[in-house]
Amino acid sequence: MLDILYSIIPQTLFFAAPLIFTALGGVYSERSGVINIGLEGLMVIGAFSSVTFNLLYADALGTATPWISILVAMVAGILFSLIHAVATITFRADQTVTGVAINMLALGFGVFMIKQIFGKGQTDFISQPIYTTDVPFLVDIPVIGNMFFNNMYITSYIAIVLSFLAWYVLYKTPFGLRIRAVGEHPMAADTNGIKVYTTRYLGVIISGALAGIGGAVFAMTISQNFSISTIAGQGFMAIAAVIFGKWNPLGAMGAALFFGFAQSLSVVGSSIPLLENVPQVYLLIAPYVLTILALAGFIGRSVAPKASGVPYVKGSR
């Protein structure tokens, strides 16, 4: 039984990490009042830019390459999210429409650039991915050491620490209060001297940075290359995690961990005695069915931030 946990827990954290980063970004954007369907596209940009950077600079930068690649992806995510921000906040574009356009634009741009740089539609595998590590000392703790500190990706730890940080910022700092205020009632926030446009810009930029990191973490740990199908729905799963987690950073983290757990079940499942006779298809659909049941059963009504999706026009009532 313990052996199963030893394999499932690291797998769960491995699959969940990219989703956690991206979902946290989604929370910040939506809390500030801007729906971001474009998370998928921002992840594509993150994956594309990190893989390209990694391939081009691996020789020069050595083992530091994947980490710098993630930073590059973060910047690329920010730049790309600015398109969403300008269109939805300044030009008052429909947020869903713009998000859909961002997804198409990112994929088209990514593959177009790959063809320009490498002359083909699919990159080679990166030579400097992020490897698993054992955490010194902690891995020697009986039972827990093997569960949580053996063969782990550092990115998974960062994702979890960041979730708590994101929660703290959103609920315990003036900046977080402003983000929530402009997402809930922008006009009231405006009357109180909060700069609605600036705050919303920041919300979208944070989502771009985090989704870029999410895409990069996916590319550096899971796919290790970039093609048209590298990011196939992870961004939409992150949106699901945002809603599942009721627009709360810790809730989103929990939802992402749940998705990661369900995904690891379908990978590890065949080696678990209880599950080995279950047809594969049940394990494959389990995460999605369980999510629907969880939403219908005990999570219940999920209510979006009140002004989410509504452009703010200064002076209008």
Partner: protein, 347 residues
């Protein structure tokens, strides 16, 4: 001054032009010849009857997924699950098309009906959960997409075939293809476009000429007011999702009974449903607008495949389409610019 209906036409047209210009600029930046690029795009569609028919075959499912998403949007629902509804419709149509023996006038309608029912059922689940429990339809639809992907793969491998990745072709009695059209064009041009155009009319009639349509739109504008006016909001949400799913399911039938004539396992989504979101939005969520935007999409997608003859990667068209949508979405700024121009003329 422009009236607002005029703007509804002008903004998409300006956006398409701006998108194509932006595409030309990108081609220039990367050292391609935009004139040759766009010429190849045009020739990729209009050079031969074969590719013209391929384009029609491409437009047909786009019309249907566009309608599916537009219809849900009009009731204030976001059916991001069209992708999954297309898949289940596709497999349901092929299942009926391969498993049953019947004369064509029964077999074909039955296969189409199966696809519509499967799509409608797939949309019913997010609909009923939204109506009864207030669960967000977007997240349930996304989950239903993945469930559809895995279940259809399973059905194709284990039920429709014996561990094969591709099913038998559908029987001629259930096929949308037609010997006359095939002889005329040498392509798989099929009669699905008639089904699609019929659905365009049906959507228009429902929305503009029936009490149901009026209620659906009212719920889309304001749920609370509709409820106060005595409309059954919950029932209308479910009905809207059912009709939306029906359209998407039929889009799957177009592929299964027409363009491909079989079903096959997928590792990723076909993107028909996701592209349908863009089709609906560009078409202003209006059934006739959807026909126009689906035609533009089909034209660009098929034509782009020929752009490699001019050495241009066909992803440029993905970028152009995305930019067009961005420009349409930012219609406010185009409108503002047009009004400034008008003012300038008066002085």
């Amino acid at each position: 001054m422009f009236s607002s209906t005029k703007f509804n036409f002008i903004i998409p047209i300006i956006s398409v032009i701006l998108g194509l210009v932006a595409g030309a600029i990108i081609m220039l930046i990367f050292g391609y010849n935009p004139v040759l690029g766009y010429q190849a795009l045009w020739n990729g569609v209009f050079d031969s009857p074969f590719f013209m028919s391929e384009t029609v075959n491409r437009i047909t499912p786009y019309i249907l997924t566009g309608l599916a998403i537009a219809f849900a949007f009009r009731t204030g629902l976001f059916n991001i699950g069209a992708e999954g509804q297309v898949l289940v419709g596709w497999v349901a149509a092929v299942w009926v098309g391969t498993a049953i023996d019947a004369p064509a006038f029964i077999h074909l309608p039955l296969a189409l009906l199966a696809a519509a029912a499967a799509g409608a059922f797939w949309a019913f689940i997010p609909g009923i959960l939204k109506a009864k429990l207030g669960v967000h339809e977007v997240i349930v639809s996304i989950m239903m997409n993945y469930i559809a992907l895995h279940i259809t793969n399973y059905l194709i491998r284990s039920v429709l075939t014996d561990n094969q990745e591709t099913t038998e072709p559908v029987k001629q009695t259930a096929s949308l293809t037609n010997d006359f059209l095939i002889g005329l064009t040498g392509s798989r041009l099929h009669l699905g476009f008639i089904v699609a155009l019929l659905m365009v009319l049906i959507m228009w009639v429902i929305l503009e000429r029936t009490k149901l349509g009026y209620e659906l739109k009212a719920v889309g504008y304001n749920q609370h007011a509709s409820n106060y006016a005595g409309m059954k909001v919950e029932r209308n949400i479910v009905i809207s999702m059912l009709i939306s799913g029906l359209f998407a399911g039929l889009a799957g039938a177009m592929q299964g009974l027409g363009s491909f004539g079989n079903a096959f396992t997928n590792t990723a989504f076909s993107n028909l449903g996701f592209d349908g979101i863009a089709v609906a939005l560009l078409g202003g969520n209006n059934p006739f607008g959807v026909v126009l935007s689906a035609s533009l999409f089909g034209f660009l997608k098929v034509g782009s495949l020929n752009m490699s003859t001019a050495g241009v990667p066909n992803e440029i068209i993905e970028i152009v389409i995305a930019l067009i949508i961005l420009f349409v979405a930012s219609g406010f700024i185009i409108r503002w610019a047009l009004l400034q121009l008008k003012k300038g003329e008066k002085k």
